[in-house]
C-alpha cells in the first residue's frame, strides 16, 4: 500500500508543493496551509493533553488513596479510549464549537484532539510510572524526601522515556485523524494562514479527504492527494521515530552508558 501511495504521489512532490497555497480550486498548487494547520493542531492538542494527561496519571499511580475514585477515573479513561473518533468530532462540535462558542477553530480542534489523546497519554504515562521500581521510591523516601520530591526527582526522570514515547505516538495518531477535526477545526480552503486560535485551518488529513471526495477533478488530482498522503505519513513517522529515539536515548542514559 505504501509503495502504491509513494508511486502515485511522488510526481506531485516538490519544494513548491510544500511551500505554496493550493491554486485553481485545489487542482494545482501546494499544501502549505494544510501542513501549517496540522502543525498548529498538533501543538494545540499537546498543550491541552500533555499536562492534563501526565498530571492525571501521576495522581492515579502516585497519590490517589481512594480506591473508588481511582477505579472510577480508570473506567472513564478506558471508556474514552473505546469511543470512535467521529464521536469525539461530534462531541467537540457540540461542546467547543457551539456551546462554548469557539466556532470552527484551531482552539476547538485542539481541544477535541486533546481529549482524544488523553486516554493514550494517561495510560502510557501510568505504565511508564509503574516501571520505575518501588525500591527507588523507598530509597528516596527513606532519605527524608517528600512524596512530591520523590516523584519529581526520581520517578518522573525514570519514567520520562516511556512517557515521551506515549506522547509522541498519540500525537502521531492525532495528526492523522480526520473525523475529530472535520466539524471542529478544518476548513475546505483558506486563502490565508490563520492568525488567531479562533480561526479555522486547513489540515492534511482533511485536505486529502476533500480532494478525494469532493473536488471537481478527483481523478486528475490523484497525484496531489497521494502527495499529500506522503507528507502526512512522513509527519506521523517523524513523530513516532522521535518517540522511539527519545526512549532509546533515555534508556541508555538510565543504564549509565
Amino acid at each position: 500500500m505504501l509503495g502504491y501511495i509513494v508511486k502515485t504521489g511522488f510526481s506531485a512532490l516538490s519544494w513548491e508543493f510544500l511551500t505554496t497555497f493550493p491554486k485553481d480550486s485545489m487542482t494545482k498548487g501546494g499544501i502549505f496551509p494544510a501542513i501549517i494547520g496540522t502543525l498548529y493542531l498538533i501543538i494545540g492538542s499537546s498543550i491541552v493533553s500533555i499536562p492534563v494527561g501526565i498530571i492525571t496519571a501521576i495522581y492515579l499511580t502516585e497519590y490517589a488513596s481512594n480506591e473508588k475514585i481511582v477505579r472510577l477515573i480508570r473506567l472513564g479513561v478506558s471508556n474514552l479510549a473505546g469511543i470512535p473518533s467521529v464521536v469525539f468530532g461530534l462531541f467537540g462540535l457540540s461542546l467547543f464549537v457551539i456551546f462554548l462558542k469557539f466556532g470552527t477553530s484551531i482552539l476547538a480542534g485542539s481541544l477535541t484532539l486533546g481529549v482524544l489523546n488523553l486516554p493514550v497519554i494517561i495510560r502510557s504515562t501510568e505504565e511508564a510510572l509503574m516501571t520505575v521500581p518501588k525500591t527507588f521510591r523507598e530509597a528516596s523516601l527513606s532519605l527524608g524526601a517528600t512524596r512530591w520530591q520523590t516523584i519529581y526527582r526520581i520517578v518522573l526522570p525514570g519514567a520520562l522515556p516511556g512517557i515521551l514515547t506515549g506522547v509522541m505516538l498519540s500525537l502521531g495518531r492525532a495528526a492523522g485523524e480526520t473525523a475529530p477535526i472535520m466539524f471542529t477545526a478544518a476548513a475546505f480552503f483558506t486563502p490565508d494562514l490563520p492568525t488567531s486560535i479562533f480561526h479555522e485551518v486547513m489540515a492534511l488529513p482533511y485536505h486529502i479527504y476533500v480532494m478525494a471526495t469532493a473536488g471537481t477533478k478527483i481523478l486528475e488530482t490523484r497525484p496531489l492527494q497521494y502527495g499529500t498522503a506522503i507528507i502526512l505519513i512522513t509527519l506521523v513517522l517523524i513523530l513516532n521515530m522521535t518517540g522511539l529515539i527519545l526512549r532509546y536515548r533515555f534508556r541508555k542514559k538510565l543504564k549509565g552508558i
Partner: protein, 251 residues
C-alpha cells in the same frame, strides 16, 4: 546508657492480619541490636515501623507507640520526612538510584536543603570514606552507580544513608545478597558505625548476629520471644525455643 528507641506494645496489621504483635523493645544509644527469627516472623515489618516506611503501604494499621529520645514518632503533626532524616534505612537489596556515584549521595543532601557545592562535595567524600568505599570509587564518582559490584552498591547505600547524618540506622538483611568478602566488609563497617549511630539490623545469619551485635531479639510469628545481650542469647538463652533457633534446630 540511655534508651534511644523505645518500642511500646507495638502491633502492626496488614489488613486484618497482625504481622507484629505487642512487641516491647528498648534500644540503647550507640548499640547494635540484631533482630533474628525465621522468615516471615515480622522482622522487616517491625523495623519499617521505626522510620514509618510502612505508611506507604495501603490498608495498614499501627497500635502502640515508638519513642525516639522520648518523643512519640506517631504523634499528631509529627513530620515523617524529619523522622526519616533521623532514622536512616539500608535495604535488603541494594537500591542505588540510576545516577552517578556522586549524585546518589548528593541527592539526599540536596533534598535536605544543602545547596553549597563545596559542602556537598565535602560530605560526599566524608560519607564515602565512612562507608569504606572512597578508595574504590574516588576515580569514578561520575560513573553510574549501577556499574559498581553488589557489595560496593550496598556500601554506597550505606554512604548515602550516613551522608545525611541520621541518629539511627535500620538495616534489613544488608548482606544477604552479598559474597563473603563483601559481607565481611559490611560487618566491619557496622562495628565502626556504632560509635556514632544506634543500629538495628535484621539478619538471618546467626554467626553474623553473634559477631556484630550487642543485643539480640528473637522473634517468632510476630511475637518477640526473647531479648537479651547477644552473648546471653547465644550461650545461655532463657527459652528452649530460642535455643533451638540459634543452634539451628529449626528456622
Amino acid at each position: 546508657m540511655n534508651d534511644k528507641v523505645i518500642i511500646n506494645d507495638l502491633t502492626f496489621y496488614y489488613g486484618n492480619n497482625s504481622a507484629v504483635k505487642n512487641v516491647n523493645i528498648r534500644v540503647q544509644e550507640n548499640s547494635v541490636l540484631a533482630l533474628i527469627g525465621p522468615s516471615g516472623c515480622g522482622k522487616s515489618t517491625l523495623i519499617r515501623c521505626i522510620n514509618r516506611m510502612n505508611d506507604i503501604i495501603p490498608a495498614t494499621r499501627t497500635e502502640g507507640d515508638i519513642l525516639i529520645d522520648g518523643g512519640s514518632i506517631y504523634a499528631d503533626k509529627y513530620n515523617v520526612s524529619d523522622l526519616r532524616r533521623r532514622v536512616g534505612m539500608v535495604f535488603q537489596k541494594s537500591n542505588p538510584f540510576p545516577k552517578s556515584v556522586f549524585e546518589n549521595i548528593a541527592y539526599g543532601l540536596k533534598i535536605n536543603g544543602i545547596k553549597n557545592k563545596y559542602d556537598i562535595e565535602t560530605r560526599v567524600e566524608k560519607s564515602l570514606k565512612g562507608a569504606a568505599l572512597w578508595d574504590e570509587v574516588k576515580d569514578r564518582l561520575d560513573d553510574s552507580a549501577l556499574g559498581l559490584s553488589g557489595g560496593q552498591q550496598q556500601r554506597l547505600c550505606i554512604a548515602r544513608t550516613i551522608a545525611i547524618e541520621p541518629e539511627i540506622i535500620l538495616m534489613d538483611e544488608p548482606a544477604s545478597a552479598l559474597d563473603p568478602i563483601s559481607t565481611q566488609k559490611i560487618e566491619e563497617l557496622i562495628q565502626d558505625l556504632k560509635a556514632k549511630y544506634t543500629i538495628i539490623i535484621v539478619t538471618h545469619n546467626m554467626q553474623q548476629a553473634a559477631r556484630i551485635s550487642d543485643f539480640t531479639a528473637f522473634m517468632y510469628m510476630g511475637n518477640l520471644i526473647e531479648i537479651n545481650n547477644t552473648e546471653a542469647i547465644f550461650t545461655k538463652p532463657g527459652l528452649e525455643m530460642t535455643e533451638n533457633y540459634v543452634t539451628g534446630k529449626f528456622g
